[in-house]
Every structure is written in structure tokens, then in C-alpha cells.
């Protein structure tokens, strides 16, 4: 334990914790986005329900033979929670150190290589943290859902949840923040893990860019499509009305 504590006590150790948890979270959001794209998959002709709802059901049933209903899902959730907490706690600790390290700022501020992305990591991170909480309350628990939230009917929840104009707007802004966060974060992760080299550095930058762009486009497509009704599925006014009534 002493070694782990010593490791974590150093700034480099904390950074590595941020990098590893960041990696877990990035992999998760990529998977999450992949799942979200089921939104565009349409209705399953055989069952008459939306394929996204199938997918949501699958998330609960996967591995149930071994771990029971939603067992794997909960394990993933706990894992993600731990990752988020570690990511946030180390970020807070490091930020406090860094702010204390520069007690007085310069009269003239001049950046040469620090980007809006790298400089907004702390604030973007805080915003994303709040967003994640809102997002869970929105679509996982339904607590702050617009109206008519129903567990398991993911597609319908999305369609209704994105109706007020400010909801998709918030989501798109959040995804822009995520993209910015990852544009610096993914490259920074490679640097912190010590896997950059002059030859590979451009590759790492490139991966960061690709991840940021794909996630932004992929994630933003759903709220926009839902809001503007650009998607195949039971998005007819009558179906919508039925959902709202129910």
C-alpha cells in the first residue's frame, strides 16, 4: 500500500491516475456514442419496438446468466463512478497545487502554445461533471425529464426529452465542451503515460482530433435529430401525442 500511496502522492502519480481514468472514460463515451447511434436504426419489424430499446434491454440482460439481471450494467456503472471520482479528485488536488504555485499572475499574459482546449480543461471538466449529473437525472432516472418518462422506452424518452429547444442546445454545448476537453485530454493522456515520442507525437495529436470530432458529431446528432424530427421511427405527431398523453 505504501508504494501506491507514494505513487499517488506525487504530481506525476496523480497525473497518471487522471490519464488512466480518462482513458476508461473515453472508451466508455465512445461505446456510449456507438449505442446512441442505434437511435437511427429504426423499428424492428418483428417486435414492433425500436431497435434502441432492444439495445437498452440488452445492456441489462448481458451477462445475466452469470451476474444476474443488470449485474454487468451495475458493475460498469460502479466502475465508471469510481473512475469519474478519481479523475475529479486528482484534478481538484492538482489544480489546487498549481494555483498555489503561481500566487501572483503576470501583468501581461501571453500564451504561445497553450490552446483554448488546454486552458479550459479545469472549467470544461467542471461543466462536464455537472452535465453528467443532469444527464443521469434526465435519461437514467427521469427525475428532471420534460414529461412522460418511462423506464425502458429509451427511444420515446429521447424523442420527448429533446422537445424543449433548450435541452438539445444544452446537450450540443456539452458535447462541444467534451470535444474540447478530449482534444487536449486524449493527447495529454499519451504524454502523461509516457507513450509519446517525436515520431508518434503527431499520431497522438491526430487521434485526439479524430476522437474529439467523431464524438461531437456522433453525440450531437441524436438531440438534434430528435428535436427536429429527422429520424425514422414512431415520431409521427400522433405517436408523439400518444406518448405525451400516457
Amino acid at each position: 500500500m505504501g508504494l501506491v500511496r507514494n505513487f499517488y502522492r506525487t504530481t506525476v502519480g496523480k497525473k497518471v491516475v487522471m490519464a488512466v481514468t480518462g482513458l476508461i472514460l473515453v472508451l466508455f463515451v465512445i461505446g456510449h456514442m456507438g449505442g446512441n447511434l442505434k437511435f437511427f436504426a429504426g423499428i424492428d419489424a418483428a417486435t414492433g419496438t425500436h431497435k434502441l430499446d432492444h439495445y437498452a434491454a440488452f445492456l441489462r440482460t448481458m451477462g445475466s446468466e452469470l451476474f444476474g439481471h443488470a449485474g454487468v450494467l451495475w458493475m460498469v456503472r460502479v466502475g465508471l463512478l469510481v473512475a469519474v471520482l478519481l479523475h475529479v479528485v486528482s484534478a481538484v488536488q492538482l489544480s489546487r497545487l498549481s494555483m498555489a504555485a503561481r500566487p501572483r499572475s503576470y501583468a501581461v499574459q501571453s500564451f504561445r502554445s497553450a490552446t483554448p482546449a488546454s486552458r479550459s480543461m479545469r472549467y470544461g471538466g467542471m461543466f462536464l461533471f455537472v452535465f453528467i449529473i443532469l444527464h443521469i437525472l434526465h435519461f437514467t432516472t427521469g427525475t428532471i425529464h420534460y414529461q412522460g418518462f418511462e423506464h425502458g422506452r429509451v427511444f420515446a424518452n429521447l424523442m420527448s426529452g429533446f422537445q424543449p429547444w433548450y435541452v438539445p442546445m444544452l446537450y450540443v454545448i456539452a458535447m462541444a465542451a467534451l470535444a474540447l476537453h478530449l482534444y487536449h485530454g486524449v493527447w495529454s493522456m499519451f504524454q502523461t503515460m509516457g507513450v509519446t515520442s517525436p515520431a508518434w507525437n503527431n499520431g497522438a495529436r491526430c487521434i485526439a482530433k479524430i476522437v474529439a470530432v467523431i464524438l461531437f458529431v456522433g453525440f450531437s446528432s441524436v438531440p438534434l435529430a430528435a428535436h427536429f424530427g429527422l429520424v425514422e421511427g414512431d415520431n409521427t405527431p400522433t405517436a408523439m401525442a400518444a406518448i405525451v398523453e400516457r
Binding site: 506525487t10 498549481s98 503576470y106 488546454s118
Partner: protein, 258 residues
């Protein structure tokens, strides 16, 4: 040329400082930035005012004494230059120039533009050496070292210990300084026996000195008058992770890097 200087004046570490304005006339574009301060100081002394204290010695960019931030940039606007190598032809006639000391908790101001950088010395003392006593060295050519390796080590060893990296870093981190020394020694065959101990000890000492943490902005490599790359920070991180892993696998350290 004319110049308006705003210079940070601070009587001592305990007292508050402030900017004071000085208007300079007839500055030669061929003079160096420090020579302008010399000139200003001569004028101040003759007026009976205390001259501006600033650290300087070799005035050719190698001793690492100069420690001023000029218009928000450590060592001024010109890349790969120290303040003492900066010439006035890099400024426009009539320019307004703010001159401040390095600002970092680990570099407390001593007076005016002079800061205390002994934290850097303590980082080196914590492990920035190869333990070889005088007289015990083997024949120099007995260990060949590839040219690319020695060049990469030299790129890191070129650090002058000025502290511009810390001054430029929005987090006040000393990662580049520490990483440069760790990488210089860690790349060489001679540095292998102590490689893992060294990185653990030096990172530990760096943290004890109130430096901030690296968030990979890259400002340090822009400010570094010797152009030291942040790839060395990556190398330091890698060695730190490996060293910890080696400690976990092998607490007695018999399987150190060789």
C-alpha cells in the same frame, strides 16, 4: 529609439511590490535589453534612487542568471534567446515594455527582479547525478554510446537552469527542468544503475518544492531558451511509471534497469 518601461520594484521578499514607470530616450537598437537596464540604472543612481536589481552574469546566454518576464514572456519576445541575448532591435520604437520577475511560489522574489531559485539546486541534489567518485572512472571509450543517443541526451543536458519553464508554465510546474536532467542521465549507459531511483527521488523533490503540476500546455518548451522539448517530460513520466512498477514487482530493486 524611445521606450516606456514598467518595471517591477520590490524592496524585499517581505514587502509588497509594484510597477514603476520609466521613460527611456535615445536607446540604441544595437544595445542589449540588459544594457538598457544598465543605462537606466546609471540614471537612477545619479538621481540618488536605488537601481533595479536584476540577476545577470555571463551575458551570453549560458549561465542562466537572467530571470525576467518581458511583456508576459520569460526572456522576452524572441524564441531561443535569453534576456541577455535579446537586442533592442526586436522592439518597436516607442514600445511599452512590462518587466517582471519569474512568478512562482517556488521562486520567491528576493528583490526587484531577483528571485531565489535554490529549489532547482535541491532537485539536482536529490538525484541529478551519477554516483562516481573521483578516480574510479573506467576508460572513457570502454562504453560506446550511439550518436543519436548522445545527441538526444545533449539536447536535454543543454538546460541552463534559468527557470523560464517554470515562469512560463501557467501551473508553475518544473516538469521540463526536472525531466531534462532525468532524461539526460537516464539515456546514457552510465546513468542506468541509478535510473529508477533517480526519477523517483527527483520527482519527489520537485513536488516538495511547491511547483505546480504539468498539464501539457507546452508553454515551457516555447519559453525555453535552449529549445528543450516536452518529449522529455513524456520520457520522465514513462520512467516514473516503470520505476514504480519495478518497485512493485521487485521491492529490493535487484532487477533495476540495466
Amino acid at each position: 529609439m524611445k521606450l516606456t518601461l514598467y518595471v517591477w520594484r520590490q524592496k524585499s521578499a517581505a514587502q509588497e511590490g509594484e510597477f514603476r514607470r520609466y521613460d527611456m530616450q535615445e536607446v540604441s537598437p544595437d544595445s542589449s535589453f540588459l544594457e538598457v537596464l544598465d543605462l537606466l540604472n546609471e540614471q537612477l543612481i545619479l538621481k540618488g534612487e536605488e537601481p533595479i536589481e536584476f540577476e545577470h552574469d555571463c551575458r551570453e546566454g549560458i549561465c542562466g542568471c537572467c530571470s525576467m518576464v518581458i511583456n508576459g514572456r520569460p526572456h522576452g519576445p524572441k524564441k531561443l534567446h535569453t534576456t541577455c541575448q535579446l537586442h533592442m532591435r526586436n522592439f518597436e520604437d516607442g514600445a511599452t515594455v512590462y518587466v517582471e520577475p519569474w512568478r512562482a511560489a517556488a521562486f520567491p522574489v528576493v528583490k526587484d527582479l531577483v528571485v531565489d531559485r535554490s529549489s532547482f539546486d535541491r532537485i539536482i541534489q536529490s538525484g541529478g547525478y551519477i554516483s562516481v567518485n573521483t578516480g574510479s572512472a573506467p576508460e572513457a571509450n570502454s562504453v560506446p554510446i550511439g550518436k543519436e543517443v548522445i545527441d538526444t541526451a545533449m539536447d536535454a543536458a543543454t538546460c541552463i537552469g534559468c527557470g523560464a519553464c517554470v515562469a512560463a508554465c501557467p501551473n508553475g510546474s518544473a516538469a521540463l527542468f526536472t525531466a531534462a536532467k532525468i532524461s539526460h542521465l537516464g539515456l546514457l549507459a552510465q546513468g542506468q544503475p541509478e535510473r529508477y531511483d533517480r526519477v523517483l527521488r527527483m520527482v519527489d523533490q520537485m513536488d516538495k518544492e511547491l511547483f505546480g503540476s504539468c498539464t501539457n500546455h507546452g508553454e515551457c518548451q516555447e519559453a525555453c531558451p535552449k529549445g528543450i522539448s516536452i518529449k522529455y517530460i513524456s520520457m520522465m513520466n514513462r520512467d516514473f511509471i516503470r520505476a514504480t512498477a519495478a518497485r512493485v514487482m521487485d521491492p529490493k530493486g535487484a532487477m533495476k534497469a540495466q
